[in-house]
Amino acid sequence: MAEALVLLDFSLSPFGVRVRIALAEKGIKYEYKEEDLKDKSSLLLQMNPVHKQIPVLIHNGKPICESFIIVQYIDEVWKDKSPLLPSDPYRQAQARFWADFVDKKVVNCGRRIWLVKGEEKEAAKELIECLKMLEGELGDKPYFGGESFGFVDVALVPFYSWFYTYETCANFSIEAECPKLVAWAKRCMEKESVSNSLPDPHKIYDYVLQVRKRIGID
C-alpha cells in the first residue's frame, strides 16, 4: 500500500536534515517540497498554523511538526527497520536526554556565534564545552547509539555541516578541540543516509552571510 508522505522542508535546515536522515535510514519514500522561508506556502501555514515552521511531515494528510517529534513518530511507525531509539526504557531516557541537550545547548551556542554580533568568542567557548560533554558521553562507542546509529546521532550530526560556518565566524577550530567528535561525524558521513542528507557546508556559510547582511551584522 502506498503511503502518502510529504515533507515540507528547507534544504539548509539542520532540523529538516534530522527528518531526512531518519526517513533514509528506514528506506522510506516520500515527496520532498522545498519551502521559501520568506514566502511560506499556504500548505505549510495550514499544516503548522501554530509555529509556521519547517520541517513538517504530512502522513496520509495528517501533519506532524517539530523535528524530534517527527523522528520519534517515524521510529514508532516504521519500527521494524533500523530502530533509532533503544527499546530499554532507561537507555531510551538517556538518548532523549542527550538529544534534548543538543537542542538546549549546541543549537543555542551555534546560533549565537553567527546571529548575534559581538558574542562569537564567548559562544564558541561555550560550544566547545558542550561538544566536549558530548564527547564524554560518546566515549569509545562508534555512535551515540552504541554499535548502531541512533537517535542522538540523528539529533547532532546535521550540525556537522555548520562547523565550517561556526569556525569561520568565530575563528577557532572544532577539530583541534574535539577531535573525537569530528572523527564520529566523519564516521557518520560514511553512511549514505547521512552523506545524502547533509547540505554542503559552503552553501550554509553563503546563506549565513546573506542573513547577516540582511539583518545588519555585516
Binding site: I69, I70, Q72, P89, Y90, Q92, A93, F97
Partner: protein, 250 residues
C-alpha cells in the same frame, strides 16, 4: 495513599512495593517536580520524596544531574533520570500495568508531545512574562502586552483541548494524560499570577473548556495532594520579585 508532602522528606506509604527503589529529588513548589509525582501517583508507585532546600543544591542532586544541576531527578534502582518530560515518559514505559500516560497510537503520541513542547517552550514563558513586566519601566504597557500573549496562547490551548478531549474531561480523554499533567502542573503558578496582578487568564468567556478542565484536574486523586496552595506560591513569588527589585550588589 498519596503523600501530603511539606518541607521535610517523607516516606510515601500505601503500597507493598519497596519504597527505597524509587526516589524523587525535588521541591513542593516546582511545577516540573509536580509532573513525575502525578505520574507516579497514576501508576500507584510509592516513592521517597527528597526535598531540596531552597537556595542550595544537595550533593545528591549535583551528582545525579551533573549536566544541568536541576530538579526533578528520578532515581530508580540507583540510576538517575532527568528532565520532567523525559521522566514522565520513562515512568510510562517502566510501569506498564497502571493506566497509560501517553496514548498508544503513534499519531496521538506525536500530538501529545507537540502540545507539551508548546506549553513548555512558548506558553508558560509568556506567563512568567507577566511577572517580569512588573519590574519594567513602562510596567502598565509591558503587563498588558504580556497578558495579551498569554491569552492568545490559551485560546490556542482551548482549541487543542476540544480536539484532544473529543468531548471527554481531559486532554487524555477519560483519564488524565501527558498534556493534562504538563499544563496542569502550571495551574498553581498561573492562579498565583492572576491573583497578584488582578487579572483573569483562564476565564469562562474565552476558554470555558479549560475552566472546567482545570477544576477537574485539581480535584483528581492523582493531583490534589501535590498541587501547591496559591497562597504559599504567592509568598515565594514575592520573595523572587523582591530579589529582582533589590539594587545589584556593588
Amino acid at each position: 495513599m498519596f503523600c501530603k508532602c511539606s518541607s521535610s522528606p517523607r516516606l510515601c506509604l500505601g503500597s507493598a512495593m519497596a519504597t527505597s527503589d524509587v526516589k524523587l529529588l525535588g521541591a513542593w513548589a516546582s511545577p516540573y517536580v509536580m509532573r513525575p509525582r502525578i505520574a507516579l501517583n497514576i501508576k500507584s508507585v510509592s516513592y521517597e520524596f527528597l526535598e531540596e532546600t531552597v537556595g542550595s543544591k544537595s550533593q545528591l542532586l549535583l551528582q545525579s544531574n551533573p549536566v544541568h544541576k536541576k530538579m526533578p531527578v528520578l532515581i530508580h534502582a540507583g540510576k538517575p533520570i532527568c528532565e520532567s518530560l523525559i521522566i514522565m515518559q520513562y515512568i510510562d514505559e517502566v510501569w506498564t500495568n497502571g493506566p497509560s500516560i501517553l496514548p498508544s497510537d503513534p499519531y496521538d503520541r506525536a500530538i501529545a508531545r507537540f502540545w507539551a513542547a508548546y506549553i513548555d517552550d512558548k506558553w508558560f514563558p509568556s506567563v512568567s512574562g507577566i511577572t517580569r513586566a512588573q519590574g519594567e519601566e513602562a510596567k502598565a504597557v509591558a503587563t498588558a502586552v504580556a497578558i495579551e500573549q498569554v491569552s492568545a496562547g490559551l485560546v490556542v490551548l482551548e482549541e487543542a483541548f476540544e480536539k484532544c478531549s473529543k468531548g471527554k474531561g481531559y486532554f487524555g480523554g477519560e483519564q488524565i494524560g501527558y498534556v493534562d499533567i504538563v499544563l496542569g502542573s502550571f495551574l498553581g503558578w498561573t492562579r498565583m499570577t492572576e491573583k497578584m496582578n488582578g487579572v483573569k487568564l483562564i476565564d469562562e468567556a474565552k476558554t470555558p473548556g479549560l475552566v472546567g478542565w482545570a477544576e477537574r484536574f485539581c480535584a483528581n486523586n492523582a493531583v490534589k495532594e501535590v498541587m501547591p496552595e496559591t497562597e504559599k506560591l504567592e509568598e515565594i513569588a514575592k520573595m523572587i520579585q523582591a530579589k529582582f527589585r533589590a539594587p545589584p550588589p556593588k
